[in-house]
């Protein structure tokens, strides 16, 4: 991820005037265009009522109007925004703290390094199932609590799963994304930051000062895009809130899915409209990041 930051901010001069660049991009574009651009294009078309299943193909914004006019949509939008914001913030704090701790105490330990990065390879789906088995009311923790007499039976255990606050959803995101932030931070800490840190130390800067004036400014350009990615992902992902969420409120992607699988074909344009709105939020996050990145770049 850190490499990506560098690329996006300095890519243009490399790009310009290179004749073979499109050929070299061709394999990537061949995948991106059919799978992504066409899919998004079809979603947009269906959201405005073109390419419908039932045959009526007059373009209209009816789906957007009815979606934006429903309280349920706004509830889902704010629920998704809440989930993504809390999860990203917690992951960021925990991830950076873990990276700093790791660098200080365990940087040479293979075991800790493995433990830190282990769940990066585990899919969200598996993570969500694990949360269900551990945090659910008839899960491991609940049974343990009953066994040692903390609770009386499964219903006495607090509802982390299928609850209206999305606690298990947030827990799953943090479990998965905090190590991601830690790895991003460690990539910086392990290389550039070490030298600057030593220099600052020899000049008499204390630990808090070094963090505030040396480490943090070096980390931010890498962490901000990582946070954008995590935010956009946790805003738009579907399987985790589907598995761990309650009946109401539901995350926006779950709402989109449920409209999509609605037996009433007329609900399908609304599903697509919800999908398009999720994409717009993701794009908005990316644009906001670009602006922020430029400011951070300027400050350096």
């Amino acid at each position: 991820m850190s490499a990506r930051t560098e690329d996006t901010t300095r890519a243009e001069p490399i790009f310009r005037g290179e004749p073979g660049v499109w050929w070299r991009l061709a394999p990537a574009l061949l995948i991106v265009i059919p799978l992504f651009v066409v899919a998004v294009g079809l979603a947009v078309l269906q959201s405005v009522g073109i390419f419908g299943v039932t045959g009526s193909s007059d373009p209209s914004l009816a789906a957007y109007r009815s979606l934006l006019g429903s309280a349920e949509f706004w509830r889902s939008l704010s629920f998704s925004a809440y989930l993504a914001t809390v999860a990203t913030t917690l992951s960021l704090i925990i991830g950076v703290a873990a990276a700093l701790t790791f660098r200080r105490f365990f940087s040479r330990s293979r075991v800790w390094s493995f433990l830190l990065q282990m769940n990066l390879a585990i899919p969200h789906l598996v993570g969500a199932l694990a949360m269900l088995l551990v945090l659910g009311q008839s899960g491991l923790l609940s049974r343990g609590a009953t066994a040692v007499g903390l609770t009386h039976g499964t219903s006495g255990f607090p509802a982390f799963v299928f609850d209206s606050r999305g606690l298990a959803i947030i827990a799953e995101y943090v479990w998965k994304e905090a190590p991601f932030f830690a790895v991003v931070a460690l990539a910086i800490l392990g290389t550039v930051a070490t030298d600057y840190d030593s220099v600052a130390a020899t000049l008499g800067a204390g630990r808090p000062q070094r963090f505030r004036y040396v480490t943090l400014p070096l980390l931010l350009p890498a962490l901000v895009p990582a946070a954008v990615v995590v935010f956009a992902f946790s805003f738009g992902t579907f399987e985790v809130p589907l598995l761990l969420g309650g009946s109401f409120p539901e995350a926006l992607p779950v709402l989109a899915y449920r409209r999509f699988v609605n037996v009433d074909l007329a609900a399908r344009p609304e599903a697509m409209a919800a999908g398009v709105i999720i994409i717009i939020v993701g794009l908005a996050a990316a644009v906001a990041y670009q602006r922020l990145a430029r400011r951070l770049e300027g400050r350096r």
Binding site: V37, V38, T54, S138, F162, F248, N262, V263, L265
Partner: protein, 408 residues
């Protein structure tokens, strides 16, 4: 980008299936001959491992050995996923060579496919084993009030039943109507819930409640009447929101599927679950999904029964093979095997006993005689059986439940 989309859509467009490629059941030998070597992709709800195993171990080897057909069971979490695959392919211009050859459907999903004109029609009544099916009965020739028109062939039948645990609840305590259920729920807070519609069983539960609280199914048999529905359904929403505070988790959330409800029931979190199996829950107990002391029962006020079917999309890549499969499952011996809970399923019959030769009846009679108290007696099921009403009611009930109950 629009250009790209249109180009791609145009590029993969092919014409609809040619007439010569549509299987003609009246020339059955040719259907069987052309089915040889085909792989039939059967898309079906995959939420029951016993049903999956039955399909894999009973039908698949027979098809392989007798017809040189490979049966590829494709499990879907909800039948609507298969419907979406079919519709998306048709929408994308894939008029033939579709990935779905055969799909397990009924009710509102059948309605969706018919609305989109996505099925082969007029074949189910002419396949050889159609002679065993009572096509004159509205329980077969209408699927949720919609004329079947030979666009799907029955596979089995089901009836909605409650399940309780004899170790926790005595027979005397059981509710026998939705009115009594409300009393029971209020007396046992947190011990009852139902899957959130549009889960099939959740929809069944609220539809049956709809019949009872609006004074019976009779008013709803003559097609969809929106005005009458809107006026009457108020009773249902007040019933369901009335019991909501006494449900599991105070009704703040509902299980999403029958599998989840079964888990709650087996874990002792709730005291009731549901089953659709006319031959009882023996198979579910044997596989450990339900506790050994579980027993099914039905309300005195009735229980909804229906048929379920196999349908062939009109863009199926292997329609001949699909038709052979749909015909094979009606074989009396195989219907008996499916009916027998010992084989893992316990599904109701799709064929009519009166249409069978005496020799063909024996296997089924043997299974019926052997049904234990893990099944509601067949005559009791017959006596309480209520019909389905047109699929528009399902759609309206699911939509309104979402609004009045879930978002409440």
């Amino acid at each position: 980008m629009l250009v790209v989309v249109v180009l791609v859509a145009a590029a993969c467009s092919t014409g609809p299936i040619a007439d010569a490629d549509i299987p003609d059941p009246s020339n059955w030998d040719e259907v069987v001959a052309r089915a040889r070597g085909q792989t039939v992709n059967l898309f079906m709800w995959g939420g029951s491992s016993q049903i999956n195993r039955f399909v894999d171990t009973v039908y698949a080897p027979l098809l392989e050995d007798d017809f040189d057909i490979t049966l590829n069971r494709v499990p879907v979490a909800d039948t609507v996923d298969a419907i979406n695959t079919i519709l998306a392919e048709l929408q994308g211009g894939r008029g033939r060579g579709g990935s779905v050859d055969l799909v397990w459907v009924n009710g509102e999903n059948f309605l969706t496919l018919r609305q989109a004109d996505a099925l082969l029609t007029d074949w189910a009544t002419s396949i050889p084993n159609a002679r065993l099916v009572d096509w004159d009965s509205p329980e077969v020739n209408q699927d949720f009030g919609l004329a079947v028109n030979g666009a799907e062939s029955p596979w089995g039948s089901a009836q909605f039943q409650f399940v309780y645990d004899g170790a926790r609840t005595t027979v005397e305590e059981l509710p026998h109507s939705y009115v009594e259920l409300r009393n029971w729920v209020e007396a046992h807070p947190g011990r009852f819930t139902y899957p959130a519609p549009p889960d099939f069983h959740g929809t069944r539960f609220i539809k049956q409640a709809f019949y009872e609280v609006t004074g019976g199914v009779e008013s709803w048999l003559l097609g969809f009447d929106e005005t009458a529905y809107d006026a009457a359904a108020v009773e249902l929403w007040s019933y369901l929101t009335g019991i909501e505070p006494f449900l599991w988790r105070g009704g703040t959330t509902y299980p999403q599927s029958l599998a989840e409800l079964n888990r709650l029931f087996a874990n002792g979190e709730v005291d009731f679950t549901f089953t659709q199996l006319p031959a009882g829950i023996g198979a579910n107990i044997a596989s450990g999904v339900l506790p050994a002391t579980a027993k099914p029962f039905v309300f005195d006020t009735g229980s909804i029964g229906d048929s379920h079917y196999l349908a062939i999309p009109n863009n199926a890549a292997h329609p001949h093979g699909a038709m052979v499969v749909a015909n094979l499952v009606l074989d009396p011996e195989l219907q008996a095997a499916k009916f027998d809970p010992a084989n893992g399923w316990g599904d109701g019959l799709a064929i009519s006993l009166s249409r069978l030769e005496a020799t063909e009846q024996s296997s089924i009679a043997k299974v019926t005689a052997g049904l234990s108290d893990l099944a509601v007696p067949p005559d009791r099921l017959q006596a309480t059986r209520l019909p389905e009403v047109s699929a528009e009611y399902t759609i309206a009930l699911e939509r309104d439940w979402d609004f009045y109950v879930r978002q409440n």
